[in-house]
């Protein structure tokens, strides 16, 4: 039985929304921790988090200042923000609801439970004491859902769409984090690194749960060059850009009518592998990341055009 176009699209979006909620939860957690480590003189605040999610305009339409409370509200619970954690989970749940005959029952139950948990306990996001636990539970529940889907759903075309959606979202988030953090966190990369630069690069890694894996791979002191290489080009780390794109490529290969898309994606992947992003200065790095973002948009467009 071949898959309904509408269902393929719903699976794809469900996975994207779930991944978005998980990544956003990590981002907020890491930022909370980072702020505790930085000296008062380094004014970092919460605005970069809004920038990472490309939501500056909407944010300032709804809030006056990028205070901790306002940003957490905007990013975690605000329904008026379509990519807040609660909005993403709600969208994932609505998607799951329309395809509950496709995904395993337990997965639907988990998604439903996750949404209910997140909404019923949303006040926890505002208390510094509770926030970590609250967001961590959201992350873990997402991981449970991913595991359940991997372990109980037939790995058919629908599952490929799910993985493709997840990886495109992941690639998107990785590039956004690198773009904003490398610019606004570390304005002056050419100079000698301070201890705080180190902490900030660590936070970039941690936002992508990449810290431990990075340390295993790269024994040297944390530095811009190696972090960029790792997050953009490490083929075996699941949240690196290259890995995510390779996963999309692998998924597409199993789908019908894939020639044009895979060809374009293989081209992009080759480009990424041969690039030397670590050698780029900040403005060139930004251009490079922009290019990758455009590739991701094109990829989404052609998948949507071909299959949905």
């Amino acid at each position: 039985m071949s898959m309904l176009s509408r269902v393929a699209s719903t699976l794809y979006w469900m996975a994207r929304y779930l991944e978005r909620a998980e990544n956003t939860a990590r981002l907020v957690n890491v930022n909370s921790h980072l702020l505790l480590d930085l000296p008062r003189s380094v004014v970092l605040g919460w605005e970069p988090v809004v920038d990472i999610l490309s939501n500056r305009e909407l944010f300032y339409a709804l809030h006056e200042q990028a205070s901790e409370h306002a940003v957490v509200n905007f990013i975690v619970t605000e329904r008026a923000n379509p990519s807040s954690i609660i909005s993403s989970l709600s969208a994932a749940r609505e998607n799951a609801r329309t395809i509950r005959e496709i995904i395993p029952r337990e997965a639907w139950e988990q998604i439903n439970t996750l949404y209910l948990f997140a909404t019923e306990n949303q006040h926890d996001a505002f208390s510094r004491r509770q926030r970590y636990n609250y967001l961590n539970k959201i992350i873990l529940a997402n991981q449970t859902i991913t595991g359940l889907l991997a372990g109980t759903m037939t790995h058919d075309d629908g599952y490929e769409f799910l993985c493709i959606g997840r990886n495109i979202e992941r690639a998107d988030m990785t590039t956004r984090i690198i773009d904003v953090r490398s610019a606004s966190l570390l304005p002056d990369m050419e100079h000698e690194q301070s201890a705080f630069d180190n902490i900030q690069w660590m936070s970039v890694l941690k936002s992508l749960t990449a810290y431990q894996m990075y340390r295993r791979e790269v024994r040297l002191r944390i530095n811009r060059r190696d972090v960029l290489k790792f997050l953009l080009q490490e083929e075996h780390f699941p949240r690196s850009l290259l890995h995510a794109l390779k996963e999309v490529e692998r998924g597409l290969e199993r789908l019908p009518r894939n020639q044009d898309i895979t060809k374009a994606l293989q081209g992009a992947n080759k480009q990424l592998m041969s690039a030397k992003p670590e050698a780029l200065k900040q403005d060139k790095l930004h251009e490079f990341i922009d290019l990758m973002q455009i590739e991701l948009d094109n990829l989404h467009e052609s998948i949507s055009h071909t299959y949905f």
Binding site: L4, T98, R100, E101, R257
Partner: protein, 484 residues
């Protein structure tokens, strides 16, 4: 001890579990003893466990209201099951099969020879004024002459213990998924009770449904392509559409997923292109099925569907036009219909029904309206009804005017004193009125669910059981007392 049967007052009702104060019916003795042995704390825990199971399983239904649009509500569920002795059930089952067989023959006849009208059993004028008769279906007969493949008939029991058919739902009856889910909730919450009883299983319904649908396939192939056609997630029964599709392994489709080609074949849009469909279990009303033929503004349906159906290239269940027999005026004729087609006496009685289009019966209704239940012919979900004894003189007068203005659209029945069953409130039980909706599948064979969906009116004294109007539900156990 929380539940004390000797203070459970059945009043002048027939109670499904308790014969008289403190005396359970024979088949309910074990259950009543078990419940009486529970502490308050246990009862609260079990109730909470059931609520949490419903919450986690996402069992919901949608309610419409003008202010909030539509919202999802958790399915209201009572943990005290409703029991019926298998011996009694077997008689009901035969009666239901008889009824549905005759109704299908009636529909097929109306759209073809109309012998029943020619023979003077069924008045021609009633057919002319029927809202659900579709002239577009005339001269067509679906495979095996079956129109209403899935029927949900509502049964009630009066204070004398007699079971009546209250109405037949032949269009797109809903509720079967709740019947199945109620059983799952009970198994999660009260596994002990299932050891005490031999309860007939109900979980084969999705396979029975699948088999019946497969029999309708126009192509004689091993795995016909079966889909469930839903209006979408905003429909109040969407939960059920998705549930049944999932349980059958069928595709759940919306109108936009389907397309009828110039070859009059129905296809669905897939990631590989177009793919042929054989059987559509449609959960969309006739009027919205095909904008080429019916409501041209419908975006829920599929243009050309009727063409494909009449060309015999796709099966539609239930067939368009089945609703002609699901009219509350036609209901009054069912005993005559059974006798006419099958030459048999009706096994399951109808509630006595006064037809307002008949001058004499109308006079009686107008004179006694405060004692009667008045129903419009073509509404469902309990909408547009008058319950005489619970209404004001102004409401009585309003309905008198409605009846006079459009007599063909109304029937009236005496107010039945519905049976009750113990229903949990906090840690005590109180009697509440209920009904039962079994589901009957007609294919090469006719099958009936073991029991059905029991719906309870949660408000004291109320007899309105519809979930859209605050009704709840119970698991229904057909218990085999001889196998113990």
């Amino acid at each position: 001890m929380a539940i004390k049967w000797n203070s459970y007052d059945v009043a002048n009702f027939h109670d499904e579990l308790v014969e008289d104060r403190g005396i359970p019916r024979p088949y309910a003795t074990d259950l009543c003893n078990y419940l009486a042995a529970l502490s308050d704390k246990e009862i609260i825990e079990y109730k909470a466990a059931a609520d949490s199971a419903i919450h986690v399983m996402g069992i919901t239904f949608r309610v419409y209201n003008d202010e909030d649009g539509s919202i999802d509500r958790a399915w209201p569920f009572d943990i005290v099951p409703r029991l019926i002795d298998k011996k009694e059930w077997q008689i009901i089952e035969v009666g239901l099969k008889q009824r549905v067989k005759a109704l299908n023959m009636f529909i097929d006849d109306l759209y073809n020879e109309q012998n029943i009208i020619r023979d003077g059993i069924f008045p021609a004028e009633l057919l002319e004024k029927s809202k659900n008769f579709l002239p577009q279906c005339k001269g067509f007969s679906p495979p095996l002459g079956i129109w209403a493949h899935i029927c949900g008939s509502d049964l009630v029991r009066d204070d004398q213990g007699i079971v009546y058919v209250l109405e037949d739902n032949l269009r797109v009856p809903s509720g079967v998924s709740y019947m199945l889910e109620n059983r799952l909730v009970m198994k999660r919450v009260f596994p002990e009770m299932f050891e005490k009883y031999s309860i007939l299983p109900i979980d084969d319904y999705p396979s029975e449904l699948y088999d019946m649908l497969a029999q309708m396939s126009p192509r004689d192939i091993e795995e016909p392509e079966i889909v469930v056609l839903t209006p979408g997630i905003y429909n109040s029964a969407y939960f059920e559409h998705a549930y049944l599709a999932q349980q059958m392994g069928a595709e759940l489709v919306e109108g936009n997923d389907l397309v009828v080609g110039d070859d009059d074949i129905v296809y669905m849009r897939t990631i590989e292109g177009l793919s042929r469909i054989d059987v559509i279990y449609r959960r969309i009303d006739d009027n919205f099925l095909d904008p080429e033929v019916f409501n041209p503004d419908s975006t829920l349906g599929v243009p050309g569907l009727m063409r494909a159906w009449k060309a015999g290239n796709v099966a539609l269940t239930n067939a368009p036009g089945s609703g002609v027999a699901d009219d509350k005026v036609v209901y009054a004729y069912v005993p005559a219909i059974i006798e006419y087609y099958l030459g048999e006496k009706t096994l399951l009685p109808n509630v006595p029904t006064y037809k307002c289009h008949d001058a004499r019966e109308r006079e009686y209704v107008l004179a006694n309206i405060e004692k009667m239940v008045v129903k419009p012919a073509n509404e469902s979900g309990g909408y547009g009804m008058l319950i005489g004894p619970h209404s004001s003189p102004e409401e009585h007068q309003a309905f008198r005017e409605l009846i006079k203005a459009d007599p063909r659209n109304y029937v009236a029945q005496p107010m039945l004193i519905l049976s009750t069953a113990p229903t949990l409130f906090d840690t005590e039980v109180e009697p509440r009125h209920l009904d039962l909706r079994p589901f009957i599948l007609s294919g090469k064979n006719v099958t009936v669910t073991a029991g059905g969906l029991t719906r309870v009116a949660m408000r004291k004294g109320s007899t309105v059981v519809n979930s859209s109007q605050g009704g709840g539900s119970k698991d229904t156990w057909i218990v085999d007392m001889e196998s113990l």
